[in-house]
Symmetry: C2
Subunit: 303 residues, 2 copies
């Protein structure tokens, strides 16, 4: 079963306290589609300019990602530049050049329209709506979002919530969207806005999953050295969506528990190197091994 | 097997955004000894003034806590007053009156000296050292601490670390003590300072346990309504120590995993009401039921 991934494709310039790299492959759809490709076939929808490096296209092709929905148009690819502070937890955007992304209208090739698992990676809620207008009989729709859209496009985001099965966002965004301090209340309030399931990402504190009156607390993998947090959330969402597709798209709370863990496994690898460098080399054995570590992290037996 | 609990006994005045109560039973030893008493016999060492209400002594007696080490001296009991901010996560101390606590020197009755499990609840590191000077062949020594002692008594705290098996502290304190941002690094750095095991409490994000090259991430119980966070950490430490005593004091990482969960179970009940009101009524069935909920919170099966 396939996953449709729609989002941004970018060339990132990223500065951390120790390193700086330019023109890296980035964007929500890049991370999410590569992550999903570990578990399922992926149909990608995005846009790049004619300056987009062939090697980046090669990376996506190597992951067997279907690129029929990748628009290449004259002009420059979307560029983002950001700097992480000393603790790698906070970042500042240094510059954004929308370039060809400014006129992006996600159009689904006919062959994509019946893709059963839909991941609306982080882009403007208006574009996410436009994707939903084109899909046919989806089994499960996941939306990711960010603080920017809560700030400048809240009505579109709120109306999107009524159309999706699951929302993924981070703790700060959940508090911002609901004006609740308690993440438990925030999660439930978002469920009441539409999505049956909500995942709240908490960075170094793991992830909370809400749904079906149940609750799952996924631990964070205990990493000592994070090199580049960029794309961790997109990788999480992509891995989660891919796992659901691999399991036939019949989504229960128990399937989602495992999907959240596998999304976390991939995200934990992703932050070990810049851009998608680590995802390029991750093996299925490595995924299995870290899955086992996640199990160890949270198991206990009371006597 | 018994637990020795040494710490403060206080009369607290607590203000939250919704309520204010005065002269409540409080102090690290009160919470910790009552929590420990759910699992094991407790020997308490503390000091109160002659104004200490009989009903509070009655509460401790009802929990079968041995009060041979409770000193009652002329004067007023230690008083603390604090106010919680709107989110109940941050608090300000409004006033402290040390009163009889100022001259407290914890003296162990002869019958207490061979207590196998020792919990040095949160008091000045100098007093914690004084307790260790009096104990005989302990099986396991746990110390709790707070930011104040890292600020004003760091050398005494650091030398204490070489004498204990386990340190319990919260995330901010772990960062303060080690000057590390990553809690994973902080935990390992504290282990290198002496204690074989370290528990870092993260409030709404649960707790991390380090030891024997292993790592355990305990989820937080998803509470929507917290009425009074006072004593949550002391309750956690007491429940943990009591559980170790109940299991014969043979401490392994696996025993500690369960001890951390049971400490968290008791702490999750404690914050549901002011002071020790909720701990007064918690039943063993309630403890079992929430233990089962903790298991549900973190279980997953990947297919």
């Amino acid at each position: 079963m396939s996953v449709l991934v729609v989002g941004s494709i970018a060339l990132d310039t990223i500065k951390t306290p120790l390193e700086e790299h330019a023109d890296l492959l980035g964007g929500s759809a890049s991370y999410a589609s590569v992550a999903a490709s570990f578990f399922a076939p992926v149909n990608l929808v995005g846009i790049v300019g004619d300056d987009f490096p062939k090697e980046h296209v090669g990376l996506l092709k190597n992951r067997n990602i279907d690129l029929a929905g990748l628009q290449t148009v004259p002009g420059k690819t979307f560029r983002w530049s950001g700097e992480y502070m000393w603790d790698l937890n906070t970042r500042e955007t240094r510059s954004i050049e929308l370039n060809v992304f400014e006129t992006f209208s996600p159009e689904l090739p006919a062959a994509y329209r019946a893709t059963p698992i839909v991941l609306l990676a982080n882009i403007a809620p208006g574009l996410q709506h436009h994707v939903l207008d084109q899909i046919e009989s989806p089994k499960f729709i996941i939306a990711d979002t960010m603080d920017l859209w809560i700030d400048i496009a809240k009505p579109e985001l709120v109306s999107l919530l009524a159309r999706v099965d699951m929302l993924i966002l981070n703790d700060g965004e959940a508090r911002q969207l609901t004006e609740e301090t308690s993440l438990i209340r925030a999660g439930k309030k978002i469920q009441a806005m539409g999505p049956k399931y909500v995942a709240i990402k908490k960075g170094e504190h793991g992830c909370l999953l809400f749904g079906e009156g149940e609750f799952f607390s996924c631990p964070a993998y205990p990493l000592e050295d994070i090199h580049d947090p960029t794309g961790a959330g997109d990788t999480f969402a992509g891995g989660l969506a891919g796992y659901l597709a691999r399991n036939g798209g019949h989504v229960t709370f128990n399937t989602l528990r495992a999907a959240v863990v596998l999304g976390s496994v991939l995200a934990s690898y992703n932050v070990e190197q810049f851009s998608l460098e680590r995802l390029k080399t991750v093996t299925t054995d490595e995924i299995s091994s870290r899955l086992e570590r996640f199990r160890e992290l949270s198991r206990f037996e009371a006597l």
